[in-house]
Amino acid sequence: MNFAAQINSILAALILLTAFGLLVQRRIHGLLHLFAWQGVFLSISTAVVGYTAGAHHLYISSVLTLALKVILLPYILYVLIHRLQIHKDVETMLNVPTTMLIGIALVIFSYHLTSPIRELSTLVTRSTLAVALSTVMLGLLMMITRRNAVTQIIGFLAMENGLFFAATSATYGMPLVVELGVALDILIAAFIFGIFFFHIRTTFDSLDVEQMAKLKEED
C-alpha cells in the first residue's frame, strides 16, 4: 500500500468518525462543526485521489466541495438557526448506546455488501467504498432517529457527502456535467429547506417534526 492510499484511508476513517459524531451530537452548533469538518476531509480526499490518479477534473470537484459543503451550506444553516433562534437548543435523544450499536452494525453490513466489488476494483481507493456506503447508511439512520427538522437536513446532507465519497472512491469521480448538476440540485434543496424551516416554525411553533403526525390513515 503506497503513501497516497494510506492518506486516503486515514481520511476515509475521519469521514466515518465524523459520521458517527453527527449521529450522537446533541447540540446544533456541534452538528454544524462536524458537518463542516466532514466536508473538509471529503475535499482533501478528493484532491488526493485526483493527484494520485492524475484525474485533474477532480480538483474542480474538490474546490466545489470546499465551497459548497464547507463554506456555503454550513453558513446558510448557521444563519438560519440564528434567525430561528434555535442555536442554543439541546435535542433530547433516546438511547445513545443503542444508536451507536445500530450504527456499527450498519458499517459491518456495508463492508459485507461491498466485498464483492472491492475485490474487483483496482483503484488505490477501493477500500473506501465500504466507508462511503457506511456514511450513507449512518446519515439515513440519523434521519430516522432524530426529531429536529434541522438535524434531519444535516443527516440528509451527510448522506449526500457519503454519495460523493462513493463517486470518488469507487471511480475517479463522476463525469463533470453530472457532478455540477448534483451540486446544483443540492443548492436548490438548500434554499427549499431554508424556506421550509420558516414555514414549519410559523405553523407549528417549533422545529420538532414529531408534531407533524396528522396525516395518517383513518380507520
Binding site: 484525474a55 455488501l113 461491498t114 464483492p116 466489488i117 474487483l120 476494483s121 456506503l133 450513507v136 439515513l140 434521519m143 427538522a149 434531519q152 440528509f156 448522506m159 449526500e160 454519495l163 462513493a166 463517486a167 469507487a170 471511480t171 475517479y172 463522476m174 463525469p175 463533470l176 456535467v177 453530472v178 448538476g181 448534483v182 446544483l184 440540485d185 436548490i188 434543496a189 427549499i192 429547506f193 424556506i195 421550509f196 414555514h199 414549519i200 405553523t203 407549528f204 417534526v209 407533524m212 403526525a213 396528522k214 396525516l215 390513515e217 383513518e218 380507520d219
Partner: protein, 482 residues
Amino acid sequence: MMLLILLGVSLISAIILAFVGDKKYAAEINILGSTITFLAGLGLAIQVYAQGPIITGGKFFFVDAFNVYLTVLTSFVSMTTAVFSRGYMRREMEHGRIGHKRMRFYHAMFQLFIFAMLLALLTNNVGVLWIAMELATLSTVLLVSLYRTPTAIEAAWKYFILCGVGISQALFGTVLLYFAAEKVLGEGGEALLWTNLSQVSDKLEPTVLSLAFVFLMVGYGTKVGLVPLHNWLPDAHSEGPTPISAVLSGLLLNIALYALVRCKVLVDGATGTHRAGYIMMGFGLLSILVASFSLLRQKDIKRMFAYSSIEHMGIATFAFGLGGPIATFGALLHMLVHSLTKSAIFFTVGHASQMHGTQEMSRIRGLIKGNPLVGWGLMLGVMAIVGMPPFGVFTSEFLILTATIKDAPLLTPFFLIGLAVAFAALFRRVQPMVSGSVPVNQQAMKAAHLPVILHMLLVLILGIYMPDFLSKWFHAAVELLK
C-alpha cells in the same frame, strides 16, 4: 431543433412567469408555453416516426420509440392541466386560499417541473436522468405546501425527506453503474450514455450491476410510489393543489418508472438472468394488493385516487417485471391510458371539491345533477380506471392479465384479487357522490370542459382502436426492452 424548442420553451416560460406571474394574463402565458411545448413534442414525434431513433446534441439527447410517446404524453397532459389550472387556480384565489405571490411561484414552478420531466425523458446520460428526477421533486415540493396549512406543510416535508432519501439511493446505484461502465467504456462522460451502455451491457460486471439495481429500484421505486416506499404519495396528492395532483399522478410517476425500466434493461443485459424482473414483479404485486385494500378505507377523495395511482403503477411495474412481448406492450399502453384517465379524474375531482368546499367524500353528493360534466366525467373516469370496456385501461389490463396467466399462472389470483377489490372500493365510493339530489352545500361553478372531454375521448379511442404509429412504437419499444 424540435428538441431545443421542446426543452427551451418550458424553461423560458418558467423564467418569464417568475417575473410576471401575478399579472392577470399569467395563466394564459402558462397555457401558451405548454401548448408550444406540446406542438414541439408532436413535431419531434413526427420526426422520430419518419427517421427512427434520434441521437443529437453531442450524444446528449436520445429519442427512441420508448421515450418519444412519453414525451408527447407529458407535454399533452401538461397542456391540458394548464388549461384546467387557469379556472381552478383563479377560483382558489377568489376564495382567498392563496395570494398573488404564491400564484407567481405556482406558475413558474409548474413550467420548471415540466422542463425537469422532459429533460429526464430526453437525456441520454444516466447521471443527468438522475439530476432531472431530483429537480422534478424539488420543483414540486413547495407546490405541495402551497396552501400553507399544517397538513400541507407536513405532506410537503414528508415528500421532500422521503423522496430525497429515496433518490439518494438511486444516485448510489448510478455511481455503481458508472463504476462498472468505466471499466468497459473508459472514463469520462461517454461511459454514462445510455446508448453506449446498452451496446455493451453484456460486458458489464454482473455482481456490480445487480447491487446497483437494488439501489436504483429503491431509489426510483420511491418516486414511482411502490409499496412499501409509498408513504409520501397519498399525502402529497391530497394536500397539494389539484392541478399538481394531476401532473404528479399522471406524469411524474410515469417518468420515474421510465427511469427504472431504462436501468433494468442494462442490468438484464449484464446479468443475463431475470432477477431484476422478479424484484419488480414483487414490488408491483405488493403495491397492487396493498393499494387496493387501502382504497377501501379512504375518506378523502384525492387520497383515494392517490392510492389508485399506486395500484396502477404497481400493475405497470409488475408487467415490466414479467417481461415478454405481451406484458411489455400492455405495460407501455397502461402507462399511457392510466396517465390520461387519472389526470381527467383529478380534473373532475378538483371541480367537485371546489363545488362542495371539501375533499371529504361523505359530503360530496349529487354531482350529475349539479354539474353534468363533472358528474359524468368522474363516473366515466372511474369506469375507465377500474378497467371496464371499452376504455383503454381494459385493453392494457387484459393484455397484462393474459401474459400473467401464461407466464406466471400462480400469481394470477393475487393480481385478480387486487383488481376486483379496487373495482369494488372505487364504485362503492363514487356511486353516491355522482347520484342523488343536489345537497345544500353545493355551489354551481363553470367547469373546464375541454381537458376532461379530450382525455376521456382519447382513452375511449385507445380502447377501441390502436393507431398505427402507436403500435409501431410500442413494438419497437418491446423489442428494445426484451
